[in-house]
Subunit: 217 residues, 2 copies
C-alpha cells in the first residue's frame, strides 16, 4: 500500500518506520519538500520524501502527523484534490506550548481540529485516531500493559473507521477490543482535550509513554 504522511518529525518518522518495516511504500511530506533531516531519514529508511502535496497525491491512505497548530495550513498546502475519496487519519492535536506549561488548545471545547479538517476536506473520510498516544506506542502498543491500553477513534464515516481499526490491528498489533469508536467527529473535542490530561501526567512522571484503559460498570 502507498502510505503518505504529512509531517516529517519524530511522529511521522516513527509511524513511517513501522509501515516501511511491514513492506509498504512510504512518503513523508513537508512544507517545501526540502527538509534536510527528513530527506536524510527517508534515504536511510527506504522511503520517499516530498511536499505535503506530493505525499497526499502519492498515497492510498494519508496520516496527518504535523503539529496541530499548523495542520490546517499543511492540509491546504497539500491541496484538496489529492485527498479526494481517500482516508485521512488525523493524529494531531491543536496544542500550543508557546505560553508555557501546561499548554493550551488553540481549538477546543465546542470545536476540534478533527472537525475543522473534515470541513476543509468534505470529500475525504477523516478519522481521528492515534492522537491520544505517544508516537512509540502508536506502533508498539504492546510496550504498555501487554497492549491492553485503549485507543479512542472518531469520525463521521463508519466504514473508514473500520478500515483504520483493521489497519492498526494488522500493522501494529493493536488489540481490536482496545480500539474504541466514540462516534462522530465531534467527539474529537474529547480526545483532543484529553491531551491536557496526558501532558499533566507527563509533567508528573517525566515520561510520554502513558496509556489509559477504561473500565465500566
Amino acid at each position: 500500500m502507498n502510505i503518505g504522511i504529512l509531517g516529517s518529525g519524530i511522529v511521522a518518522q516513527t509511524l513511517g518506520s513501522g509501515f516501511v518495516a511491514n513492506g509498504h511504500n512510504l512518503m513523508l511530506g513537508s512544507r517545501d519538500g526540502a527538509n534536510t533531516n527528513a530527506i536524510k531519514w527517508a534515504e536511510t529508511h527506504n522511503a520517499k520524501h516530498g511536499t505535503f502535496s506530493d505525499a497526499a497525491d502519492f498515497a492510498d491512505i494519508i496520516f496527518n502527523c504535523t503539529m496541530g497548530i499548523f495542520s490546517l495550513e499543511a492540509i491546504k498546502l497539500a491541496e484538496e484534490k489529492n485527498f479526494k475519496n481517500k482516508i485521512l487519519i488525523d493524529a494531531a492535536n491543536p496544542v500550543d506550548f508557546s505560553l508555557g506549561m501546561p499548554p493550551r488548545l488553540t481549538i477546543g471545547n465546542d470545536n476540534s481540529l478533527g472537525e475543522e479538517i473534515q470541513k476543509l476536506l468534505p470529500d475525504t473520510k477523516v478519522v481521528k485516531a492515534l492522537n491520544t498516544i505517544n508516537y512509540e506506542l502508536m506502533v508498539k502498543p504492546n510496550m504498555l500493559n501487554n497492549g491492553n491500553i485503549d485507543l479512542f477513534i472518531c469520525g463521521d464515516n463508519d466504514e473508514a473507521k473500520s478500515t483504520v481499526a483493521d489497519l492498526l490491528v494488522k500493522e501494529f498489533e493493536w488489540k481490536r477490543e482496545c480500539i474504541i469508536d466514540l462516534g462522530e467527529m465531534k467527539h474529537a473535542r474529547s480526545t483532543e482535550s484529553m491531551l491536557l490530561f496526558l501532558i499533566s501526567l507527563t509533567m508528573k512522571y517525566g515520561t510520554f509513554k502513558n496509556g489509559i484503559k477504561v473500565y465500566r460498570g
Copy 2:
C-alpha cells in the same frame, strides 16, 4: 467529624450517605436552605440541612458538590469566613449542557473552576478531587475493576491533598496507589476537561460508571 456538603442533589446525597454510614455528622447546604427534597432526604438519613453558609460554617471539612456552572455563586453565598483555614474539596465541573450534547465547558483550557475557587478563597485549602468519577464510584470505587481505577487530584497545598487522600482511603476504600496527585491546582484544567471525554464514553456506552486506569512505561 463534621462534614459539610454544598449541594443537595444526587452527588451530595450519595457522598453524604457514605459519610453518615461511617458515623460522621453531616450537613447538606442549598441556596435557600428550604429545598423540600433535600430536607426530606436529610431527615430520613440522620443528616442536617441548611443554607450554603450554614453547611460551610458547620463543617470541619467541606465538599463542593454543586453544579459547576453555579459553584462560584454558591461559594460566594456560603461566605468566605466560613471556609477560613479549612479544606474544601471541589468535586464539581463547569459543564454546560444547555446547548445540547456533547456539552461544553464554561471555564477551561487556560483556566479552571478549581483555580477560580482557590482565588475566591485564598485562606482555604482547596483540593480538586472526585470530579472525574461518577457519584456512585466516589464512595464505592470497588464497583469497578476491584477498585483499581485512578483518582486524579490536584491543589496548591500538599498537606491538604495528603489529608484528602487519607480521608478517601479510610472512608471509602480508595486504594492509596490509585490516588494520583497531578500537582498544582492549574492541573484542574486537565481533570475538568477530561469530563468531555467521560461524557463521550457515557454517550457511547449508556453508563456513567466509567473509570480509567493509567499505565506508564
